[in-house]
Symmetry: C2
């Protein structure tokens, strides 16, 4: 079965804080280390995609299309197949989070430490996305999965509504 959170269920990183994340900025070839540890190879394409996420403002979420376009804009040509493959690998390694915000496409952002997990408020009209934190969410997620004996991978709380400016537009 395909999955929202990974493509190789058996060995997915759990919802812990990935030790790589803290130092991804400092260590220049940490990506190589993380990849090789799991048998993946380091490539310039993967580095460029990760760099792009690190250059993306907090609270912004990227999809494959945007990644492709932004890399084009900075003169890097890369194929969609490579982008999709890199995204899967980086989700699998716990470097990225995959999000189902709305409409038929997936969005990605740098993964954040477990206790700083955040959630999303989406305007279904204009697509604006606001982030918020609430530890009650993660507590409930932990509690429920523990109760049922599930090993927790990820919780997503998504609130859909209409933002103030769209409300006035729509009367």
């Amino acid at each position: 079965m395909a999955s929202i959170t990974n493509f190789f269920d058996g060995e997915k990183k759990t919802m812990e804080h990935h030790p790589a994340l803290a130092s991804l900025n400092q260590e220049p070839d940490l990506l190589k280390t993380v990849l090789n540890k799991e048998g993946f190879r380091f490539t310039s394409q993967r580095q460029k995609i990760l760099d792009l996420f690190q250059a993306t403002p907090l609270g912004h979420h990227l999809n494959a299309e945007e990644i492709h376009q932004q890399l084009l804009d900075q003169g890097e040509k890369i194929s969609f197949s490579t982008i999709y493959r890199a995204l899967h690998v980086m989700v699998r390694l716990g470097l990225l989070q995959e999000l189902e915000l709305a409409e038929g496409r997936k969005y990605y952002e740098l993964n954040t430490p477990f206790m700083e997990q955040h959630h999303h408020l989406v305007c279904v009209h204009c697509g604006e996305v606001l982030e918020f934190e609430d530890t009650k969410m993660t507590q409930v997620g932990h509690g429920e999965s523990a109760t049922r004996g599930f090993s927790l991978l990820n919780c997503q709380f998504t609130v859909y509504g209409i933002c103030p400016s769209c409300q006035s537009l729509l009367g």
Copy 2:
């Protein structure tokens, strides 16, 4: 922009308890009333789809494919375009909830009164879905959308993990 929760943002029912839901079973042609009130027409196809949801055990979620198959099984031929159109209309009327449980397809279930809103725990390996209730979720959803001036349509809390039996299978 397309939307998880509806296809015609401006007039979507809000997250209140839809008055139709309580009595959908009793009133035989309540569906007609609800449809006509919004300018839609009553059709036997829409009735059959709603009937199917009412005959579906609680906690089970249907996608377009399953709806098509189940209707075929009971001798009803219906096209996918009609199924998709009916699902959109019924979400729009607040009769159904649209869910993003996992993998690239949408699931539907009868909409439930606001305060009985439930959430989902999904095994990413076998696809099993468990439901749970927690009023903290809806409170946080209300609170966040109020704070930001959003009009709330819907909240979904989805917890992804691996169920006990898949854990033992996977070692």
